[in-house]
């Protein structure tokens, strides 16, 4: 049942949006540059110059400007970034059939079929990207998606790193748990409270214990902490939903506060849908609450658009289920009608 050893490459463009803007405007060379919607008030991405000042993507714009008053803030030009992304995906297609884009600037490639050393393949892909787009990319090379993604971060920018089979054990031993996909700040804190800092520590925890603390995710942690990940590179992975969520520094204790926090989330969700997913039909909307005891509830109902009124009702419904428990995370999203389940000639649905 076990497949042969796979060769997976994760390619991650270096501050993609900012890099494109800088290529388009050579006069910005050497300046701290960020791309971000002023309206939304956060940086979408920023270049390494800006990072020296402590700017980070997803940082509120006002904070970024406090840290770096001469920051060049540019509006987001998705059209342009999409075009570049297309050119890069064409390069990927020359090397592999199994390409799974994660976003405009990131993708997994399964190059198990190539005889050449995957590290050489990664280097060649990065060269081709540089020649074609004058942009730099970083790459991670490993036997699975999880490790490849971690590795691509190791020599960033414009570098690559391979985790070879015989290095996995040693690599995982010292890897901080924050590097595990899905471990956010709060989960990390919760894991730390168990006296666990590294994946090596995590490996010492029995699966049953992890399941008790983290449910299904605990079982994933058991495998991930050992560098095991069986997920395939899936070129047809179809986006099933779009959502937006936020973890709060201070717990939300009333439903009024919850509604207040929900409003910007819905606005951003509507914007995301409008900008990136307008081609998809919406089937239902949902609101997710994570309580301080880490339990999660999701309220949902059918809707055909990002319907703020209905989403607000869903928040109240979910809030009700918490029975007054404080909330640490609020999420809102919509799920899509699966592709190929078209309006015409097809099966009708009741919900």
């Amino acid at each position: 049942m076990e497949e042969g050893r796979r060769k997976i490459i994760h390619i991650d463009m270096d501050c993609f949006y900012a890099a494109i803007e800088m290529r388009e405007r050579p006069e910005l060379k050497g300046l701290p540059v960020a791309v971000g919607g002023r309206k939304r008030g956060v940086l979408t991405t920023c270049n390494y110059e800006a990072r020296k000042y402590g700017c980070r993507s997803a940082m509120p714009t006002f904070q970024a400007l406090e840290r770096c008053p001469h920051l060049v803030l540019l509006p987001v030009r998705f059209e342009l970034y999409r075009q570049e992304s297309q050119r890069i995906r064409k390069i990927f297609a020359e090397f592999a059939d199994l390409v799974e884009p994660l976003s405009l600037d990131e993708a997994y490639l399964d190059v198990s079929h190539l005889r050449s050393n995957p590290e050489a393949v990664a280097a060649e892909i990065r060269d081709r990207i540089r020649e074609t787009t004058q942009l730099t990319a970083s790459a991670g090379i490993a036997a699975n998606k999880f490790l490849a993604k971690i590795a691509s971060d190791w020599r960033k920018p414009d570098g690559q790193f391979a985790i070879r089979e015989d290095e996995v054990e040693a690599f995982m031993k010292t890897l901080p748990i924050e590097k595990i996909w899905g471990v956010g700040q709060r989960t990390a804190e919760k894991i730390h409270r168990l006296g666990v800092r590294t994946c090596g520590d995590l490996q010492q925890m029995p699966l049953v214990e992890l399941d008790r603390h983290f449910g299904k995710f605990g079982r994933d942690l058991y495998e991930l902490s050992r560098g095991i990940d069986h997920r395939r590179v899936n070129p047809n992975r179809e986006r099933k939903s779009v959502s937006n969520e936020r973890t709060f520094f201070e717990d939300v204790t009333t439903s009024e506060q919850g509604l207040e926090k929900l409003t910007p989330l819905i606005e951003e969700l509507a914007e995301d849908y409008r900008d990136k997913h307008r081609d998809r039909r919406i089937r239902e909307g949902f609101v997710k609450l994570k309580f301080t005891d880490f339990s999660i509830t999701t309220a949902q109902r059918s809707m055909q658009e990002v319907d703020a009124t209905e989403l607000r009702k869903l928040l109240l419904e979910a809030w009700e289920r918490g029975g007054g428990r404080p909330v640490r995370l609020i999420g809102a999203g919509v799920r899509f009608v699966p592709l190929g389940e078209g309006e015409s000639g097809g099966q009708m649905r009741m919900f």
């Binding site: 029995p206 699966l207 049953v208 399941d211 079982r219 058991y222 495998e223 050992r226 095991i228 099933k240 939903s241 999660i296 509830t297 999701t298 309220a299 949902q300 109902r301 059918s302 419904e317 799920r335 699966p338 309006e343 015409s344 000639g345 097809g346 099966q347 009708m348 649905r349 009741m350 919900f351």
Partner: protein, 365 residues
Amino acid sequence: MKFQIDRETFLEGLQQVQHVVSTRTTLPILSNVLIEADGDELKLTTTDLDVGVSGRIKADIESGGASTLPARRLVNIIRELPSSDVAVEIDGDNVASIRSGPSFFKILGLDQEEFPPFPDFDEAKEFALDQKTLRDSLRKTSYAISTDETRYVLNGIFCSLKDGMMTLVATDGRRLAMVEHEVEFPAGNETDVIIPTKAVNELQRLLGEVGEVRVRITDSQIAFELNQNVLVSKLIEGNYPNFRQVIPGEANDRVTIEREVLLNSVHRVSLLTSEKSNSVKLMFEDDQLHITANSPEIGEAKESLHVQYKGKKMSIAFNPDFLMAPLRNLDQDEVFLDLIDEMSPGVLKVDEPFLYVLMPMRVSQ
């Protein structure tokens, strides 16, 4: 621990619990069956942390104790043993010696301390149901459970215990099956839960023709006690869709059809559906039902049968698999199909509290 046991008894007991065993090899203990010997019984337990099953079987126990052994491997060994007398001895290091006739097997187990305990049902609401009723009800609904993982609330059977009724519902958004039965329980016990598919499948395996099943429900777990078995499962969290609103009220026309005749006809006609045009068309007129299917690149099929229908001429298209599923799982000779028009859901009924709502397919023509 040391016991003698009949091969078939042991095998049956193991087979009843082995389906739950995790196929993931990351945690060996979840691949193991917990064996507890006490009095004149062996208790066998397996779990994958979502669903757990235990069963009791008779054995001749020389000395009691508890240990765990790899479930699938044990089943394979017991099945092949040459003699019906089996002697098992498990030492303090969880090494099992199995003797039967000329055969000897030694298998390495794991300490029972590692085996995850079953959840607590102290504060549970309790119900008593008739096994056969529950078994029939699950058979008549479970095929409609959604397998779409993105709609996890539909990945199970909705079970409502309210107003002296037990209502079971399964749907995937395209069809919906529902069964209702009167059940006695205290008013304070009213509850709605969603039982995950895996638990439904296991339960169907365990339920028999006679006797009761005791059901205990907490906020997050459900347990079924029946015969010599206990099944526990996590419940699916979330809100089941408001299914009542999709059940049509008054129908315009009712068709009475022989169940097996309809099933066989739809089955034959469906041989000429294809992935692209996966629908059969039902056309009703004057006590006649014409069932047709055609795929431009393959050909076409048509069958006519006698039905009771006095309404106006009308036609409606359905996915043949969705139409056949309830017909296969019902026992009645006659079924009733209530129709409104070609774009509205059809409702299949029988002369007991069952209904099946099926959304039509849009076909160009």
